[in-house]
Amino acid sequence: MNQASPAAGPGSGADTRNIAALHGVHYAVDDKVVFDGLDIEIRRGEVTAIMGPSGTGKTTLLRLITGQIRADAGSVIVDGLDVAKLPMRDLYALRRRMGMLFQNGALFTDIDVFENVAFPLREHARLPERLVRTLVLTKLHAVGLRGAAHLLPQQLSGGMARRVALARSIVMDPDILIYDEPFAGLDPISMGVVMRLIRSLNDALGISSIVVTHDVQEISHIADVSYILSEGRVMASGSPTELRDHPSPLVHQFIEGLADGPVPFHYPAPDYREQLLAQHEGA
């Protein structure tokens, strides 16, 4: 894994290789340790996949990067800035250079598709209405939904909602685009569309993408680097090919989608036979 350079201001060129880097991150909720010395580096201009069994803290990782939560220990550097040490004003300035696609789209249900995409522009930039219209239609066209501008979020399919949310997340031309389970619940056609959009937007806009997903096969087509998390640490990292050849049984189980292995099929329970017999005796 690459070593991160020291933190510096954005654009200073001190860390030109990584857009984000987490080092020695510890994070716990109540007594449950989520991360125990996590190290991850996200390269500029690449699509980085974060994978792992359910409950390994993938979404928590995104919340650390966006500064919604703060690590108990370790550093989270985004574009040269230590997220945990940023005052709210600077954190918001950093977030203006981020876009995030939520698993359910998180579209505002009281306004139509056009206004959803226009929302960040109206909040942050005082632009003439004609320019707002042009920008919004351009982004909607990029995701193939210019014709759906007048629809309400309730009238969209899951895949369409995801694409509208994608248009909204790129309307401010971010440097980093973060995807939280972008393929969850999509039909194969929508999944293919979203998959191609992630890659093409990353390359066309020259941004860096972080994709949290379970869909090993799909992400292997578009990711430059993948990380597999387990037990609060990075279990494996590398290109899709490197991960397929990885010796770890857990990585093998995850990549092949095996029901049983290091991650057991059964939730911890008393002995099956003893439990059944005990029930009979009790009856």
Binding site: T66, Q68, Y92, A93, R95, R96, M98, G99, M100, F102, Q103, N104, A106, L107, F108, T109, F119, P120, E123, H124, A165, M172, I178
Partner: protein, 255 residues
């Protein structure tokens, strides 16, 4: 002993919740001036909390007034003072019944709508999406709804009282035949501007309380269907109790 432990735990929870709500209220107050920089957002919420509550407020007001007309006439007829129906009804409605019933109706209609709307925004990641877009949900979502509620309440109280007095007049004058001129002139000569002011002050205070409770419960709802439902229920219950407690406190101060 177990009862004492439960009592202490309950008291601790209550104080913790009260402290959290006080901090939330302080934050809302601090950012309140910035809310008026975007009046359009407040106007939208005055429409949602106020205008959309008009039907229930006016219907309830009419029937409350008519019941007051029936009961008031029955009571006053026993002492031969039916013509005082207008004064009694006006003062009761302006100083007590108007603000309190309006606040209870407001909590049931607008308060629950506010809490469930914000709670659902939390549950569907809309508030998180705003945070990621560098938009503060407190300023963009909570503040306009709070201010909209605070502005709406005194207006709704005024409308409720006006419709209720019309209801009293319908029963007293049209049904029981009290002299129309006497009904209105006695009301005009006895009702002071302070009485009107008391009603509006109560409307404002209840508006602050009910709106605050609704936005607080919605904003802090667990992001699940059950959590939103619980927040909605708590909004009605806490608003109703707070209204009655505050009514006593404000009345004691103003009298």
């Amino acid at each position: 002993m177990a009862l004492l432990r439960e009592l202490v735990a309950g008291m601790r929870d209550f104080l913790a919740n009260a402290g959290a709500m006080s901090r939330f209220f302080a934050r809302v107050l601090v950012i309140s001036p910035s809310g008026f920089l975007r009046p359009r957002l407040i106007v939208d919420q005055v429409y949602n909390a106020g205008a959309l509550s008009l039907a229930i407020i006016m219907t309830s007001g009419l029937f409350v007034g008519m019941v007051m007309g029936l009961q008031g006439h029955d009571l006053l007829a026993r002492i031969g003072s039916e013509e005082s129906l207008g004064i009694g009804a006006a003062l009761t409605l302006l100083k007590e019944l108007g603000p309190v019933v309006t606040a209870l109706l407001f909590a049931g209609r607008a308060g629950t709508a506010l809490a469930s709307e914000i709670g659902l925004m939390r549950a569907t990641d809309q508030l998180s999406a705003m945070e990621i877009m560098a938009v503060d949900p407190m300023r963009r979502v909570v503040l306009p709804r709070f201010l909209g509620g605070v502005i709406s309440m005194p207006l709704l109280v005024a409308i409720f009282v006006a419709i209720s007095i019309y209801g009293v007049q319908l029963i007293g004058v049209q049904y029981f035949g009290i002299d129309q001129g006497q009904f209105w002139s006695e009301m005009r000569s006895s009702v002071e501007i302070e009485d009107v002011r008391e009603g509006l002050i109560k409307g404002f205070v209840f508006g602050v309380a009910c709106s605050l409770i609704a936005v607080y419960e919605g904003y802090n709802a667990d992001p699940t269907a059950e959590g939103v439902g619980r927040a909605t229920t708590r909004t009605v219950v806490i608003s109703a109790v707070s209204t009655l407690v505050l009514d006593y406190i404000v009345t004691a101060i103003l009298l």
